[in-house]
């Protein structure tokens, strides 16, 4: 019984939250990695682009709510995602046309493109804050929990409760669907293959008749889809605040690099690596050991490897270690 309690405890506080947080990071990391693999620069506007897409979802959710449209138990925001994606893609294509294409045609070094993306970051951040303000916005509606801790306790008769939020399950399901479609697209369709070819060797791809403009456009479209969905899922699970989104850029970068930048599958796994290690290392295991160890051996201290304040620092340290020992990431980079 105690053993079961211990497992439920870990599930409740580590596995479920880490899975959903990891999925949100994974979507962002694939976005970073795609831009890096095909457009060849580190996009510092990642977090703000995600908040831009989410902003539309929030605004449309409010509009739909005022019209009385809802999805019942599911959050209304799911309904708004397609519209938000369209706005996001339009914005990205405009930015590409106005800003990035010039440097791409000039074949500027990646560093310069990264600098330019900082300009885009400033502008996007300004737009988001001017339109919706810098405050915390909650736009979740519908059923909050699938299983509540109390109900679970009554159902099973265990001491420990397991609560699963609907947003967590939604996040995981949607991520798996989106990522599977993406991998199918990249590996099986002609366009996807040409994208991989372009990422692998630009000149050779051009010689074999691949249209670079089309590749770039499709990349931005996929990026828009990933950024919006990732942003909305994060916002539903926690809340929408532009500053948090900007900060999320850092663990997302860490996930992309840990997985091997330029490698979407690596980025996908990298998201989970970062999320799990953040939560594993900062969780206080006192209760867990009280259940597992025989009576009389209960620990006095919290058995916490690092205080929760260092949550972010954990992912960055992992990144530094990976960069030191395997600069190309856990999975070899550049095999889009």
């Amino acid at each position: 019984m105690d053993f079961l309690n211990a497992i439920i405890l870990l599930l409740n506080y580590i596995v479920v939250p880490a899975l959903s947080y990891g999925s949100q990071l994974a979507l962002g990391a694939i976005f970073v990695t795609l831009i890096y693999g095909i457009l060849r620069f580190a996009n510092f506007a990642t977090g703000d682009m995600m908040s831009f897409g989410t902003m539309f979802a929030v605004l449309l959710t409010w509009y739909f709510q005022s019209l009385g449209i809802s999805l019942g138990v599911l959050p209304t925001a799911l309904l708004t995602i397609p519209f938000a994606i369209i706005m996001m893609i339009l914005y990205m294509l405009t930015i590409d046309k106005l800003v990035f294409s010039y440097y791409r045609i000039k074949k500027s070094p990646p560093v310069q493109l990264a600098m330019v993306s900082i300009g885009v970051m400033f502008v996007t951040q300004a737009i988001v804050r001017i339109v919706i303000g810098p405050f915390d916005r909650r736009f979740f509606d519908g059923e909050r929990f699938i299983i509540k801790a109390n109900e679970f306790k009554e159902m099973t008769g265990l001491n420990e409760g397991l609560s699963i939020k609907s947003t967590q399950v939604l996040t995981i399901i949607i991520t798996v669907i989106v990522v599977s479609i993406l991998f199918w697209f990249l590996n099986k369709t002609k366009t996807g293959k040409s994208m991989r070819a372009y990422s692998d060797n630009e000149d050779l791809a051009l010689l074999s008749g691949i249209d670079p403009k089309r590749i770039v456009m499709i990349t931005w479209m996929i990026a828009g889809i990933l950024a919006t969905i990732g942003g909305v899922l994060y916002g539903l699970d926690k809340s929408f605040k532009p500053f948090t989104y900007f900060n999320n850029m850092l663990p997302i970068f860490a996930a992309a690099i840990v997985g091997g930048i330029g490698n979407p599958f690596g980025a996908f796994l990298g998201g989970y690596v970062i999320a799990f290690s953040e939560i594993f290392l900062t969780y206080a295991y006192k209760k867990f050991f009280t259940y597992v160890l025989p009576e009389g051996m209960e620990p006095d201290s919290l058995i916490q490897l690092l205080s929760t304040d260092y949550k972010f620092a954990v992912s960055f340290s992992i990144l530094v270690i990976v960069l030191l020992f395997r600069p190309s990431g856990i999975f070899k980079g550049k095999v889009l």
Partner: protein
């Protein structure tokens, strides 16, 4: 003289703008803008040395600034004796353990052959070291933090004049840069950017949460100043006489003695805060001028030529026998040290240390906008970039307000759209920075004052 014409014009415009602020808004605002412009200029010079001279991207400016600020706290705050008594020994012992870990890791790296076993040894040393460290430091930290937590709760500093911290800040930041450089400088440009950005976040996390060191997010306030305090000034006779003399023409217009006295005391209060800011400006100008002279000399020395050679063609410089790795590390340390000076200057100016306020937007990316806008590789450009961008950053809100009022003058006063725009005025500064950066990068990629290579 002619080749400096654009430099002189640009600086004249900048100073004229600040004087205009003084005339139209107030001298108090003008001097606080000037002071922060000077601090920004120092930071920009540091970043410019790394990027302009050597082509190294350092997105960790925030971390070095914060370390400079930490130096200001550790140098100027008087030591908390009680805390040292209860936890000093434990902390010293922990320090000894850290040194022990570092040296044993070094020993393993030096004396073992590259193999899986070596990595395992290093990992084991670090993990066990950290566990021992936690056990030894835990009680010490706890007892230090419980010494009057509302007022102190930390070890305090050395109680020296705060000016010394400007040099100490340079050493702190340089020391961190040595470690970061050893770890990260081998990385490719964009990896280096990301790695430094993340490392600076780790530094901030440590400063924020190690309360025994600098009170963390509880902030340290009331740091000693290198310049007089307003209140003391207001009672000094020579200062009152000075204000009296300065404003003689205005004061003579007032007939009644009592009214004259009231007006004078008002002027003394205003004047004292302007005077304090002027003192800071004087100190900062000295630092900026010294740094300008040194960096300018360095840029045109054989060493500067070598740095440019390394930047422009690493392989060729390597082939000529220049040690690229060593020089990169050196310039990374020098640039970061300058940023550390700026960080200490900033805390000195504010008189308080607030780790929560260090955010990458303000302390890393804004500084980079300054470097790019000013002109990378040109020290005068870097200083100008610091001035121009900081000026815009502060004056963006009033300017945006003016523009909004102008364009929406046809709309009613309580129009929702107009009210929303006016409410979001503070965020137009981001827009301005972004658009400015993009325009400069597109049409003047070398910045306002481009790098000039003079043959000597």
């Amino acid at each position: 003289m002619k080749q400096y014409a654009n430099v002189i014009t640009a600086y004249a415009i900048m100073i004229a703008l600040i004087i205009l602020v003084g005339i139209f808004q107030s001298w108090n605002i003008a001097f606080s803008i000037l002071n922060l412009c000077l601090i920004s200029a120092v930071m920009t010079m540091g970043a410019n040395i790394q990027w302009g001279y050597a082509g190294l991207i350092n997105f960790g400016i925030m971390g070095y600034t914060a370390l400079g600020g930490l130096a200001a706290v550790l140098i100027s705050v008087p030591p908390v004796r009680e805390a040292w008594q209860v936890g000093g020994l434990g902390m010293l012992f922990s320090l000894f353990i850290i040194v022990l870990i570092v040296f044993s890791v070094r020993y393993v790296i030096k004396n073992f052959q590259k193999s899986k076993r070596k990595n395992i040894y290093i990992a084991l040393i670090i993990v066990f070291g950290l566990i021992i460290l936690r056990i030894t430091s835990g009680p010490a930290i706890h007892s230090i933090e419980s010494v009057e937590p509302a007022k102190t709760g930390f070890l305090g500093g050395l109680g020296l004049p705060i000016i010394i911290s400007w040099i100490a800040g340079a050493f702190f930041a340089g020391g961190l840069a040595y470690i970061v450089g050893k770890v990260a400088l081998g990385l490719r440009a964009d990896y280096l950017a990301i790695a430094t950005l993340l490392i600076s976040e780790i530094v901030i996390a440590v400063i924020k949460h190690e309360d025994w060191l600098s009170r963390g997010v509880k902030n340290v306030i009331g740091l000693k100043r290198p310049v007089p305090y307003e209140l003391n000034l207001q009672s000094e006779q020579w200062f009152i006489n000075l204000v009296d003399k300065w404003n003689k023409s205005t004061l003579d217009l007032i007939s009644g003695i009592e009214e004259r006295q009231a007006a004078l005391s008002q002027m003394v209060i205003e004047g004292s805060s302007v005077f304090v800011k002027m003192c800071y400006s004087g100190l900062f100008v000295i630092v900026v001028v010294i740094l300008l002279i040194i960096t300018q000399k360095a840029l045109y020395s054989p060493w500067g030529r070598m740095m440019r050679a390394i930047r422009d063609n690493e392989e060729a410089a390597n082939a000529m026998g220049k040690n690229v790795v060593e020089q990169h590390l050196l310039i990374f340390i020098l640039g970061s040290a300058i940023v550390g000076i700026a960080g200490a200057m900033m805390v000195t100016h504010d008189g308080l240390f607030t780790p929560g306020s260090y955010r990458p937007m303000r302390y890393t990316f804004l500084i980079w906008v300054m470097v790019i806008v000013g002109g990378s590789g040109n020290n005068f450009g870097a200083v100008l970039g610091g001035f121009a961008v900081w000026f815009l950053w502060i004056e963006a809100a009033p300017m945006a307000l003016f523009v909004i009022n102008f364009f929406t003058s046809g709309l009613a006063e309580n129009n929702a759209f107009k009210l929303h725009l006016i409410e979001s005025v503070p965020y137009f500064r981001f827009l301005m920075m972004g658009v400015g950066l993009l325009l400069i990068m597109r049409y003047k990629p070398k910045g306002i004052l481009p790098e000039k290579i003079t043959k000597q």
